[in-house]
Amino acid sequence: MTDATEMTQEEREATLGGIGCARKRKEDIRFIQGKGNYVDDVKLPGQVFGDFVRSPYAHARIKSIDTEAAKAVPGVLAVLTAADLKPLNLHWMPTLAGDTQAVLADEKVHFQNQEVAFVIGEDRYAVSDGIQAVEVDYEDLPVLVDPKQALAEDAPVLREDVEGKDNVGQGLRTHPNHIFTWDVGDKDATEKAFSSAAVTVKEEIFYQRVHPCPLEPCGCVASMDPIKGELTLYGTFQAPHVVRTVVSLIAGLPEHKIRVIAPDIGGGFGNKVGAYPGYVCATVGTIVLGRPVKWVEGRIDNLSTTAFARDYHMTGELAADSHGRITAIRVHVLADHGAFNAHAQPTKWPAGLFSIVTGSYDIPAAHIEVDGVYTNKAPGGVAYRCSFRVTEASYLIERMVDVLAQKVGLDKAEIRLKNFVTPEQFPYTSCLDWEYDSGDYHTALNKVLEAVDYRGLRREQEEKRRNGELMGIGIATFTEIVGAGPSRNCDILGIGMFDSCEIRIHPTGSAIARLGTKSQGQGHETTYAQILATELGIPSDDITVEEGDTDTAPYGLGTYGSRSTPVAGAAAAQAARKIKAKARKIAAHMLEVGEKDLEWEVDRFKVKGLPEKAATMKEIAFAAYQNLPEGLEPGLEAVNYYDPPNFTYPFGAYLCVVDVDRLTGEVKVRRFYALDDCGTRINPMVIEGQVHGGLTEAFAIAMGQELTFDETGNIQGASFMDYFLPTAVETPVWETDFTVTPSPHHPIGAKGVGESPNVGGVSAFSNAVVDAFAHLGVSHMPMPHTPWRVWKQCAALGIGE
């Protein structure tokens, strides 16, 4: 059917723009022209605005709220308080972690900037004037910002609403400010290993409170059609389908009457997974007023109220034999969850996937205990560009391995090579019960060591040290666990964490695919199209990828935890394979041969042994609507819901070289070499972009990002004046590299990469900084490594002058 004058197989392959090709991103055409469509670009007829009166106190009783003056401000339409939401039972809302969170403060405020009242007005000016006119009378209460103090015997009770309850969703409580204890591993075996160990090390490792800080903050436009009784909710949602279900459950609206649309999203990094009071108040507002209500938070609101990340006070211990072979790991975590337990993890995992803490190492015994604690700080605890609590775990083990290396006098590369899971051990089951799908850690690290001339660097460091100069070399060899996840161990509110793809092939051979995930900058429109291009033989340019509209896309759990490629990417491949199976039937009919006589080549089915006899996918698509074999239904469509059999385990080896100015404490990153293995590489350019972005965020976290609180609970650093967002000037140059160890269980062998650089990066920077001081007996330094902290270390060692 096809003439032979056309392109060669290689040329056809190249035209597809499929898996492995570094094609440009389809979405960038609109982004670089400023034509993206973000929530704040949504402008509906009759739309009004809402924003919050926020508490200046971190802990106070609300004695009264006077809204009269605010209501009298020209342009103000309504002022909502907890008292108004109470009859609707919407003054509190459930969190993803089984707790409840005040939508508008009910009798008490629990953290600074907490939402106290919601003012709705014709424009943002009227709303701001209205906010200023609301008078709230507070009686301040003693404040707890330190989780250790929160557990003191005589500590003030923060959450009076759950006083006396022995469980708020994630386990038994032992103190009024305690949320849960999560305990995994073999305590006895671990204790035994420690008591018989030749060497043990212990370190207090605090992973500071940071914030994902996407460029676009959170927001929504809620619009109720009072005639049809239908609610449309536009919003910055990483998981739009889950939002629809949650809104239905909270607001009591039938789910089919709710349409959730996540338009273009300007970065999420975990910040846009949760449900926030703004969504509820805008929804109530539109129901009450019959007009669309927009709420978009400002930068200070974003940094101080919508979900933060980390705040993990970890105590790590390793036991080892005299050669530095690790025999056990023990970790205790005091997890500061703030005022409400609203962290976003798969529901059954109170510390997410923290039990990946054995990392890339073959450790026979482990025991972990995590205690969640309430404090007078904003709620959250999301995975900021990492799979659930993986960066915390990875930071702990990567730091501890360095601590151990220093104690036993081993080189920091050598101790890793010595303890790695070996290639023959895969699939490898860790002592904490994760089945690592594939990996080759030795090859990865050795490649990096060679690329940077590791020995040469260590020699240079020796020399520098002799001259009193501080140079550090940091290594991180991380293992990620991404692609949540198998429904047997992962769910959100009881919904299994599968994902989905629906494909329709049009008669002329182009296609549309819809998926249950939601890109926030990851480039899904491009990479999914590339998977489909290779699977279906349709050029990626001819495939539209759509996500984010719950009325059109199949149900999925959204994008976070590097799950899109491992889960929805797999669904895409599987759906495509269904289509291909039907296409084979049609091709056999078209070519008048049996299905078994056909073989697939790039974009067509060929008759075996008769290469000129072939039907292209384009031809088959047309035939699907016109020339079908008996009994086959017309059309060429498929849906796949993919419940992954396992997580995927991307890994990498990073190396960072720093020079420290001992007089100012400034740390200069001289070199950063990042090798990532994410299995099959779909688009090397997109991967490179993800790695650059992830490393830049890791750099920000390790070197500057932190949200701190003074003793009265005032949040500090919650604006761009202080919160460290590196610019191109501060950002180091990234050198990237890769190995390819495909996932054996994923349809195309891909593993997910968006978060690896953040997980591995933070420890690499931190290890480099500490390494600069290692010869002076320093084994750990607290993050972030801001100049003043690093200088304090210098001063303590007497080298700061």
């Binding site: 709303v127 701001s128 500090q716 590196p726 000037v729 501060e730 304090k792």
Partner: protein, 288 residues
């Protein structure tokens, strides 16, 4: 992040601007580049009822020699200061300091007059002006007067300028040819105010220091003219002992507050480091 309501005025002459200022008293506020004022208004930390926009006052723009001084109009932007050939030649510390202010976007809008009139200890130009012994030309309903930068700053956001006075220009005595200079600023990132910064201008003659002037940014309620620190260098070869005395003298007057940039102890310490580095660099630039 929405400012309160205000009336907007755009005078076309300096006299008109001054008349508006006296008419509105503490309800009025002039706006130049807006890059300090507007952020404050958005946070409602400043809520002027009347904004008097100076942008049409072309007579307040420009960089001219005026005898032994250079006069820079208040509405001259920081960018114009950074790229002026005249300044690069005659008073290059201004270019060096201007380029350490914020980022290009801010420098294209922000003015020299706004930077010195603002009274924020974080601003860089005030200390540079103290170092250069510049004066600010103030004009009000009563006429014109000049106040030395070294006498201008009283406390954070409080200056010698009366409510109805406009800064019309900055007058800078041209430093002697062959002077050495440096502005050293420690900051966390581009666009950040100083953790500590030091401006140094010195002259050398026959291997010894003839004059030296040192001023500090963001380590007190106001910019600090470190007179004793400068004096510690004069008459010396600017050797290690003299530099150490200058550093100590500068640290003695530094009174930084603890903030996210670091605790007091650190900010005082790096004040010394900035002074040392600025002196050392100025020395390499000075013609003996």
């Amino acid at each position: 992040m929405i400012p309160g309501a205000f009336e907007y005025h755009r005078p076309t002459s300096v006299d008109e601007a001054i008349a508006l200022m006296s008419q509105h008293g503490d309800e009025g506020r002039v706006i130049a580049g807006g890059h300090s004022l507007i952020p404050m208004m958005k946070l409602r930390l400043a809520e002027p009822g009347h904004l008097i926009d100076l942008r049409d006052l072309d007579s307040l723009r420009g960089i001219q020699p005026a005898g032994r001084c250079i006069e820079i109009g208040a509405m001259t932007t920081q960018q114009e200061v950074a790229v002026s050939e005249l300044l690069a030649e005659a008073c290059p510390i201004l270019r060096e300091a201007a380029l350490l202010i914020a980022d290009p976007q801010v420098r294209y809008c922000g003015t020299l007059g706004g930077n010195v009139a603002n009274g924020d200890p974080g601003n860089d130009m005030p200390a540079v002006m103290q170092c250069l012994d510049a004066s600010f030309v103030l004009r009000g309903p009563q006429g014109e007067r000049e106040v030395r930068a070294r006498d201008f700053y009283e406390a954070a956001y409080f200056t010698a300028r009366a409510e109805d006075e406009l800064v019309t220009a900055v007058s800078i005595p041209i430093p002697p040819a062959g002077h050495g200079y440096a502005y050293e600023k420690l900051k966390r990132k581009v666009g950040d105010y100083a953790t500590a910064a030091a401006a140094v201008v010195l002259t050398m003659s026959g291997g010894s220091c003839e004059s030296a002037s040192i001023a500090l940014t963001n380590v007190g309620q106001t910019p600090l003219f470190a007179e004793a620190a400068g004096q510690a260098l004069v008459g010396t070869k600017v050797d290690e002992a003299a530099v150490a005395r200058a550093v100590e003298a500068a640290k003695d007057i530094a009174e930084p507050v603890a903030d996210m940039r670091g605790p007091e102890e650190y900010r005082t310490h790096v004040t010394g480091v900035m002074v040392r580095r600025a002196v050392e660099r100025a020395l390499t630039r000075a013609r003996a």
